[in-house]
Each structure stands twice: as C-alpha cells, then as structure tokens.
Amino acid sequence: MSDQLLKVRDLKIGATVYPPGEKPHDIQIVHGVSFDLAPGKVLGLIGESGAGKSTIGLSAMAYGRGGVEITGGEVWVNGRDILQESVKGLRALRGTEVTYVSQSAAASFNPAKKIMDQVTEASVSQGKFSRADAEAKAVELFAKLGLPDPENIGSRYPHQVSGGQLQRCMTALALCPEPDLVVFDEPTTALDVTTQIDVLMAIKEAIRDTGVAALYITHDLAVVAQVSDDIMVLKMGEMVEYGSVDQIINAPQEDYTKALVSVRSIDHEEKTPTDNPMLKVENITARYKGTNFDVLNDVNVELHPGQTLAIVGESGSGKSTLARVITGLLPPRDGRIEFSDRTLSPDLAGRTRDDLRELQMIYQMADVAMNPRQTVGTIIGRPLEFYFGLRGEEKRKRIKELLDEIEMGDGFIDRYPAELSGGQKQRVCIARALAAQPKLIICDEVTSALDPLVADGILKLLLDLQKVENVAYLFITHDLATVRAIADSIAVMYQGRVVRYGSKSEVLSPPFDDYTDLLLSSVPEMKLGWLEEVIANRKMESAGN
C-alpha cells in the first residue's frame, strides 16, 4: 500500500469525433500522463483549451464524457485500480469517495428537484448517512460556505438562487458525503470577478476544514496558485511541467510555463491626453425598448486621438450597451455623442458614410462576426469596395497589405472562417476594421473568448497597430489585467453609471471608491498568499469601520 490517495500512471485517453460530412474517427486527447496526490493535498491542473485537463480530472472517477474513453494506463484510488473496477464498484466510488464540482452549477443541478434533495442524494442512496444526518451535514456546509439562510436554502429550487450561491451549493453537494477526493472543474470561471473571490475563499476554507484532497482544474494560473499545493501544467494532452506551486509560479522551468506565468504582463506606457478629444460621450442615458429602467445613466467619457479608453465593468454594468449607443444601434433617450468635431446622429440611419467608416467595431465572438459563406478576401475586401470603391487588382493588393499588417500573410486570402483558429479569426476581424481606415475602433470584449496566450498576441497586435495607424480604441472588457495592458484612460462602470473615470494611473491608484476597490482587489494576482491577504485586508477594513 502506498501513502498516496490518487496515483495516475501513464494515463491515455481517446475519443471518437464525428465531424459533419466526414467519417467518424478516433483521436488521442491525453498522451500518457502520470501524477500522485496525497490525502488532504490539492493538485492544480492547468492548461489552455484542448489541454485535456477536464478529461484527466474525470478519469479520477473513471468517467468519460461524451465519446471519451480511457484507453490505457492506471488510476489508483485508495490502493485500487479503478479502471479495473466493476460497474458496481465504480458506483460505490463515485459520489461518495470521489465527487465532482462542475463549471456550470446552473446546468448541473436538476431543475425539477429541491437543492437539499440533490445535495444529500449521493450520501443517502449509497447508504453512507441517514437522511437526517446528511441534511444536518448539508446545513453545516451551507453555513461554512457562507450561503445566506443555511437552514432553509436547501428547500429552494436551483433557479431560485443566484449563480454564485448555486456554485457554493454544488461545492456542498460534493463535500456532503465526506469524500476523500473532490474534482473541481473550473468552479469559478463562469462567475464575475467580485463573486469569484468569495466562492474561491469558501472553497479554499472548506477544503482546509474538511481535510479533503482535491484536483483543481482551471485555465487561470493566478486562481490555481491560491488553492493548490502542487501544479501540473498541461498542453495538448501532455504534461509540460509538474512541481510545487512555489516552483511553478516563482521559478518556472519550461518556456510554456514561463509564458503562462508572465501572461498579461504587457508593458504599456500611458499617453497624456491631447487638447482636443475625438470622441465625447455627453450625458448619455439609454434603455432598451419595452423595459422600464435605464441601462445607462448619465454617462460622460472622452477619448483622445490615437489613445485607448477602457470601459471596465462586470456583467450588467451597461458597458456593452454603451458601445451600442455610440455605434447608433441603440439611440439614447438623452445626451449626445460628439465625434471628430461633429455631433453624430443618435440612430444609425441618420449617419453619413464617413461617420460609419471612421467608427469601426470588433466583436467578442469572431466566429459569428464573419459571414461563414465569405472568404477572408471577401470579408476584408468589402469595406475597401464599399468605402473606397477599390476593385480588382488594386483591391487585392490592399487586402494583402492588410493581411501582412495582422501578421497572417496572403495565403489566407481564399480561406473560409471555419478554416481559421480562434486567434486568426479575430485578426481577420481587426483587418476588416482597419480596411475602413477608421479613427476609432470599438473593441467589445475582443480577447475574452480566447486562451490567455492567444489573447496576449491580439493585445500586442492592437498596440502595434495603434502606433502605426494612430487609431483610437474604445476597449470594453471585464478583465482588469487586459485594461492594465492596453489603456490610457479608464472608466469603471457599475449598474449603468460611470463610478470612476480618469487616466489609467489615476484610476488605478488610491484612494478608491468602494466599488473600484472591491473590483481591483478581487482580480487574482499571480502570487502565493494573495487570496489570504485580500481577505485579511477586507476583514480589517470592515472591523475598522
């Protein structure tokens, strides 16, 4: 018998894929991964999409999602190889010995059953606890995880509690049967950053108090650094680096790990404002048709030529609505927009072709921002044709120049969007915007759907293009690290209002207003002990008040 709780040896995982129009075929997702986990320890699995981290996590329960199948290797839990277990043996393992917390609690709870029934179900059906004991335990966990009204929250249905609360309920569900190991699969990724920190702390404390071991899966190295003892870095189903948290964060050996650690640390010198702003948003108030509350309330911001204004906020802050108002898609109820020394018509129909040309937009999902039936050449060529009347060879030459500018080369000119990677798609969208020779580009969460390293590439490209083309960006994002990398000035939005506005250095330096303070201090930092520090600070502050 070893003293390890979980021992994985040379794990190989494959899957059958069904690409439309092609014959189904098998692919290898995980190529021989090995690791150990001692009782009570936390191992972080980190990697970008396609790294195979969730698949490895689920293999600790001998479970393959969809067409996924474990094709080789050994997975030992508490001294037995679970890949050799009978169906019955696996059932006894799942739900009581090893449990699982998924990314989306909202989808993982059965909508038709009360929370309490679902939290206690595994313990009760497997005969681990009596119903009364399991319920008492659940209430205790609800309290420990900081849920409001722990006595009664279990009698609610999943849709009756908030997303952050449901994620804690899911953690309670996993901890209720007193398992030896919990697999956390991106448990905070879907949450807003200010909610994430509380859930993260709750999870960390629960792990510590119950002495359970955990596999913590995430793409965010800063998050995993807060909760793990060891970290394994994965890339395309292979282990890149495996070591203690301290070693991985402070002394990474492999280039890939170094890149992940230094992600979003782009240095950007803030530019000073000019005398004459090119965009003035004045007293904008807006609401959507058929609703009775203002999504934007008296918003005022300015943007100078060749500079970047970042609009920061969480979901529901109104930041994307502001983009719709500026582009003319949503005429405001009140206020006006000045652009290049002229007042823009509030609705799209009233704008001149030059208004439209000089104000371009890039979207979050590059996938749906391009017509799948048009080639890259057509997509980039259309603005050239539409605004400048370019045709034939002249147009093709300009398309090639633009492709060079986005570092893609003219080999892509006849490709369709479906043939491009996520980062390439976003680059094509940038080229389409540049083709119009705009003065301002609105970037709506342009990096948030991308893996961190790819996102970094896009940010660097945008910064380089700004230097060459002297174009201004209105950069909408929820991610403060991105803001630090790209902004010259910042507007922090909360519930439809700008709560803080100024140059980057002003906005990011104390003294802070309450919301900005909360937001800034909630962003995970790539250093050990950050989470405890923040929580301790917050406790001190609230004690001081």
């Binding site: 479970y63 739900g95 249905y157 009756q160």
Partner: protein
C-alpha cells in the same frame, strides 16, 4: 403557483380566441370567397329561378356578418343546421359518427402511445447501433408512405389473404364492444403506423435532449444506478416533452382519420366530411371543419398547458 396559473389562463383564453378566429376563417372560406356558392352547388346549367330559391334557402341574401353570427350562435347551442342534400339534422348525424371516430382514434392511441414511447426508449438505449438505425430507417419509409397505401396493404394481408379481419369496417347500433373492436382493429393499426414514426422520433429526441443535460452527468457521478438516474432525474424532466409529443401526434391523428375512414368505409366524421365535400353540402362541411379544428386546437392547447405546468421555473417562481 401563481405565475403558472396565470400563464395557463392566458393559454386557455388564447385557445378560445383562436377557435373563434378559426370559425370566422371557415365561414369566410365557404361563404365569402370569390364565386357564388349557390352557383357552384347547382352547376353552370342551373336556372336562375333555382339559384334564387337556393340563395333564399341558404339565407344568402342576408349580409355575411349576420349570417355568420346566426351560424355561430347555432353552433354554440348545439344546432349545426340541416344538410342541404338530405335535409337531415346535422347535429344528430354527427353525434353517432363522432362517437365512432373517437372510438377508432382512441383504439389507435391506446396502441400507438405506449408502443411509440417504448420504441423511442429503445432507440435511445441503443443509440447509433442497429436497433436505432433500423427504427430510423422504418421511420423514413413510413413518413414517405401515403396513409391509404398502409391501409390497403393491411387489407390485402389480413383481410384478403389471411381472412382474420373484415376489409370493410361496418358498425351498427347495439354492436358489442368486442365486435366493434375486431372491426376497427385494421383501421386502428393503419392509423397507428401513420403516427408511430413521428411520435417515436420525437420521443427519442425529447429523451435524448434530457439525457444529454449536465444534471444527468451529475447524477451519474453521484454513483446512482442507471435506473435511479432515469427514475429520479431523467423521467421528471422528460415527462413534459413526451406528453407534448403525444398531444401533437394525437392532433395529427385527426387528419389521418379522414383518409383511413374512407379506405375502410368506416361510418365516422372523416367519411361524413369527404362525402359532403363532393356533394358540396356547405353546412355539413362547415360543421365538420369546425369540429376537426376544435379538436386540433384543443389538443395543441393541452400540450402547451402541460409544458407550462411541468416547468419548475414557472411552478416555483423566485
């Protein structure tokens, strides 16, 4: 509960409104469309005198709106008027035929519903394997077959070659239940085959949709047995879509019944309607059309109400 009840009440009101609008449409379709009804009934060679008489008998000289309201008023009080061709009271003629049709459709439903759900479950259980593929091939074939083809093939096999059942479904008053049953078995089987494919395919889709939810994975990862997963987590969420499927297909049965009754010369509503369409007996056609539409709308409404009631978000609002 409050919100769900409100939605159900809304849906009921919508159903009634729809029925009213449909009655206008049917009335308009037969009375206001271009062309003279009396002329088309009597044909081109009719004398002007005969035309005038018919117009007066049909009340065609009154304005359309007042004719509509007197027709609707009659229909609401159970008076559907008299047939032009036979002079018989339509409500009376419909009474026994409606019973026959409901009996036939009922037998078909009793066979089809459990069978469709069972086959749907089988298709899900053996998804992408031969039972599923066989079932989907049969489905493709059966949606490509006209109803009368299935009917005649069944007659050829079971009535002509094997002689097990009569080829003509004659019923008379005072017929015993078992006799009736043996008479309607072939038409009911035909109807079953007509709706089975659709019902099964939709059931399969509904169950698959539920089985692919993340909460089923959660249940599996709790170490529950296959049966527990289905009984506790899949079934409560699948019941509403399945009831929906069943209702929609019963509505579809309403149409199938028309053709099947003609094939088997079964004295039901469908046969009655078709006979009088060829005789251009407008009052009968209106009455039958209204009843068929009402059943159709009613079943669709039940389907919607079941989905409202089964939705936990509506049953337990925040």
């Amino acid at each position: 509960m409050h919100l769900a009840l409100k939605l159900v009440a809304q849906r009921l009101a919508l159903g009634l409104l729809l029925l009213l609008a449909v009655s206008v449409l049917i009335f308009a379709g037969t009375q206001i469309l271009p062309g003279d009804v009396a002329q088309s009934i009597l044909g081109q060679s009719a004398t002007p005198e005969a035309l005038a008489n018919l117009r007066r008998d049909m009340g065609l000289n009154e304005p359309a709106v007042s004719r509509y309201f007197s027709w609707l008023g009659g229909a609401l009080t159970g008076d559907l008027g008299t047939a032009l061709t036979s002079g018989a009271d339509i409500s009376k003629s419909i009474g026994s035929r409606l019973g026959n049709t409901v009996f036939l459709a009922g037998v078909a439903a009793v066979i089809a519903i459990p069978l469709a759900i069972l086959l749907g479950l089988l298709a899900v259980r053996y998804r992408e394997r031969w039972p599923d593929k066989l079932i989907s091939a049969v489905t493709l074939a059966s949606i490509s077959l006209p109803e009368f083809f299935i009917g005649y093939v069944l007659i050829l096999i079971f009535a002509v070659n094997l002689g097990w059942f009569p080829s003509v479904a004659t019923v008379y008053d005072g017929m015993g239940f078992l006799d009736r049953l043996s008479v309607v078995i072939l038409p009911a089987l035909t109807l079953t085959m007509v709706v089975l494919a659709h019902m099964m395919r939709m059931t399969r889709a509904a169950i698959l949709n539920v089985m692919q939810s993340a909460y089923i994975e959660t249940a599996e990862l709790k170490g529950l047995s296959g049966l527990q997963v289905i009984a506790r987590h899949a079934f409560p969420n699948a019941i509403a879509p399945i009831v929906n499927v069943v209702m929609l297909n019963l509505a579809y049965l309403v149409v199938g019944v028309v053709v099947v009754e003609v094939v088997f010369v079964y004295p039901g509503m469908g046969q009655y309607l078709v006979d009088h369409v060829s005789k251009r007996d407008v009052p009968v056609v209106q009455a039958c059309g209204l009843i068929f539409a009402a059943v159709y709308i009613g079943l669709n409404m039940v389907a919607d109400i079941v989905s409202i009631l089964a939705n936990p978000r509506l049953r337990h609002p925040k």
